[in-house]
């Protein structure tokens, strides 16, 4: 009883120390336990993190190898690892050895991958640059980690320069390059529709295409300016009443897109380069769609000699 009494006194006086000791022992226990669990844990967490970061450094393929092993069940890969440590055996050994070897490779690759992902982040952009925009979008729809990688700003900037123009390199779009690419793609489609309407000579379609305002203007290649919606549509009616259909090619389309306004410049070649025009279209965004508000067409000089024209004019 005396012992118990003195013990309790000791405990009470050294309470902080006792508590500290208990905590230390507990954490030590946890640490030891986690050390033993690590081999299996790394297989599970490895792919998850390396999948995310590997995307940041390498083509998607790398994540696949790790993922496919872990997705099939960490227990499997653990079994493989155990199998390999058991050493080459006979019988179904052939297959077992190969899988064991591959498992070892995977294990090493996982550790190698985390090292590599720190070294070469630019590989991702390079690898993603081989994809076209639908593929890149589909990739972002597969998984949240892929989404982060596939929405990479630099990748979309590179794609923009590849698909549209090398211009606007110093531009920083407000919503990022992917959104800018999407907006540019939309405007390009709208602009193409303009030429389809001309090709079809459809007045109703042209009437829907323009904004119904008094400030819209249209300058045809003839040099005539038409101002206001009615006058503009009338001018197109006249143009469409010409018997000849137009066979034209549109090249060098360049678009600049801002949230509510966009303009597109292009060169139009009619009837196999017999006549060529520089054109500009300006669009405004209202009620969820783009409307044409300004069109300007100028005959392109055959030899492109602007100075001469000014002297003569």
């Amino acid at each position: 009883m005396e012992i118990a009494y003195s013990l309790s006194i000791a405990l009470q006086s050294h309470q902080p120390l006792v508590i500290a000791t208990i905590i230390t022992l507990l954490s030590l226990l946890l640490a030891v336990r986690s050390f033993f669990k690590r081999p299996q844990k790394s297989n599970a967490s490895g792919p998850a993190t390396s999948a995310g970061k590997e995307k940041a450094k390498e083509a998607t393929p790398s994540s696949s190898c790790n993922c496919s092993f872990s997705c099939n069940g960490t227990s499997d890969s653990a079994a493989f690892l155990n199998g390999s440590s058991a050493g080459p055996a006979e019988g179904p050994a052939e297959e077992g050895m190969v899988t064991a070897d591959v498992a070892k490779v995977v294990a090493e690759r996982q550790s190698g991958a985390s090292m590599m992902e720190q070294l070469v982040p630019e590989i991702t952009t390079h690898a993603l640059s081989y994809l076209d925009y639908p593929s890149l979008c589909r990739l972002s729809m597969t998984n949240s980690l892929m989404r982060k990688a596939a929405n990479d700003d630099n990748a979309w900037k590179a794609l923009y320069h590849k698909d549209f123009t090398l211009e606007q390199d110093s531009v920083t779009p407000v919503n990022g390059w992917k959104a800018y690419y999407a907006a540019t793609r939309a405007i390009m489609n709208v602009n193409t529709e303009f030429f389809n309407i001309i090709g079809d000579r459809s007045l109703p379609a042209m009437s829907r295409f323009w904004m119904k305002s008094d400030y819209v203007k249209c300058v045809h290649a003839s040099g005539e300016l038409f101002s206001g919606y009615s006058a503009v549509i009338q001018s197109w009616q006249l143009a469409f009443n010409w018997e000849q259909g137009f066979d034209f090619q549109v090249r060098d389309v360049r678009a600049r897109v801002l949230p509510d306004i966009a303009w597109v410049t292009m060169k139009t070649y009619v009837d196999m380069d017999i006549a060529a025009f520089n054109m500009t279209n300006v669009f405004e965004f209202h009620h969820g769609r783009w409307y044409l508000v300004h069109h300007h067409s100028t005959v392109m000089l055959a030899d492109g000699d602007v100075e001469q024209h000014i002297v003569h004019g």
């Binding site: 390498e58 393929p61 997705c71 590599m116 390079h126 690898a127 639908p134 589909r138 999407a182």
Partner: protein, 170 residues
Amino acid sequence: MSTATVKTKKITLRTADNHDFEVDEAIAMEFGTVRTFFDDNPDASDEPIPLLNVSSKCLSTIIEYCQSLLAFRARDSSSSVEDEAKAYDEELVKNQDNELLKEMILAANYLNMKDLLDMLNQAVADRIKNKSVEYVRRFFGIENDYSPEEEAEVRAQNEWAFEGVDPDDD
């Protein structure tokens, strides 16, 4: 080129699964990593070089590729030879399954071989082109971790890319 065996130095490469491959120096020098290694250690040419991240199946395919690459280069650089080289490349990747393709990309990246990496990346890009999201998932072994709401949100965000395109097909 009479006593080629004496002149051509052989370099041993050891893969991750402990297989040794003996290759001509010319081929080994195609591997950027090996070349750098030799630039730093000119005396270490007798020991096998460990390639920790490359499996033997990958390495043998890559060595095949290098051998033909060097052979093509040795011939003149006319366009017909280029076409042949391109056809060879296509054949090489056509018969690989997706797994091996992915392993090869990793290996090519590790070995620092730009041309092979280019070619493989393009092959993978072509394989997933115009395929459904599910196919891409299967191809890369990606698990879908979107909740149904997230998935709908992502689909809506990316809708612009699929306007006028046929719905997902395999």
